[in-house]
Subunit: 195 residues, 2 copies
């Protein structure tokens, strides 16, 4: 049973990776289910077995992204200093994220701004990620003996805006993320998290 | 002559406004030249008289956005305290920008991440806006007697990431921009510009 479940999950991930590549290259509307199938090395019927339509695929990609963010945030609770770990990880994520990430994210945003179903998926994923980040910041401050923040939600929002904004900046300015920018990112996060 | 030029410019702007609406609603690829013509209240031939294709329309929209940013930055030089004026205007722009702005911006970003011609237009516009912002910050600091910044370019990049990121946040979180977020935006800008 578990092996079959694992196999199903692996197949789903195979579809999501192929879809991510197709959406990046051809856009959400430009990429057909037939192209996705070809890229995933499966039949179209097989893909429909896992996903009803392209919207369901976007929903699964968003869900996978959120799960990754939640797992990363949860792992920080094992560290002695959660706030320092957050600052370190934000810079690392920015340095290490593949250059194609922003092309997929912007495709999801474009579709969410036009398609109410995708918008609901994106709003719900964002709510979960943002709530967990706020909780992580609150825990980190408590562990350091820093006072609770009256503007915790607003600071969380600005931190996400900064992170997502810098990621997307690479589209307008391919050299936006360099060592100097990462240093300013980290010092800005220090002010937002530790003061 | 000038009247005819003015009329031409007004017609161009009419096309750009119609195109912006169509791109927002249907996406860059979803919107046809025929639809743009209908929305602008012109014939398709008339539109082609001004713009060779949809890429030329996106280029003109980007150009108009850059011109607006440069005009705003230049106007700040008349103020006694340029840095304070920048912080004030950043918050005002964020509060006042229509909710549909991010849908058009994300459409331009999506196309730029796939279409090398649009990418060149976007890179060049960004270079001009970012250079002028860095110059404005340097002038503002000099006028206040603050020392020049070794990391001026990196701080400028982070400021733009923050501003553009918060604008796009409204797609994932429609209530992202409220009074509390604007307050944190302003205090973050204070740290980046005035320290």
């Amino acid at each position: 049973m578990t092996t079959e479940q694992d196999r199903g999950e692996a197949r789903c991930n195979q579809v999501l990776d192929a879809a991510a590549t197709c959406f990046r290259q051809r856009g959400f509307h430009g990429a057909s289910m037939a192209e996705l199938a070809r890229a995933a090395g499966m039949s179209v019927g097989h893909i429909y077995h896992y996903f009803e339509n392209k919207e369901a695929i976007i929903a699964a990609i968003v869900e996978r992204d959120v799960a990754e963010i939640l797992a990363l945030l949860d792992s920080l609770h094992d560290e002695e200093d959660i706030l320092q770990a957050l600052i370190r990880e934000a810079g690392n994520e920015m340095e290490e994220s593949p250059c194609s990430d922003e092309a997929l994210q912007v495709e999801i945003l474009a579709e969410a701004s036009r398609n109410p179903k995708v918008a609901v998926t994106v709003h719900e994923g964002d709510r979960r990620a943002r709530t967990r980040l706020a909780e992580t910041i609150a825990s980190g401050r408590a562990r350091r003996g820093l006072p609770p923040l009256a503007d915790l939600e607003a600071r969380t929002e600005i931190i996400i805006a900064l992170f997502e904004g810098l990621m997307l900046r690479r589209i307008r300015h391919p050299k936006a993320v360099d060592d100097a920018t990462i240093a300013v990112l980290r010092s800005t996060l220090h002010t937002l998290l530790e003061t």
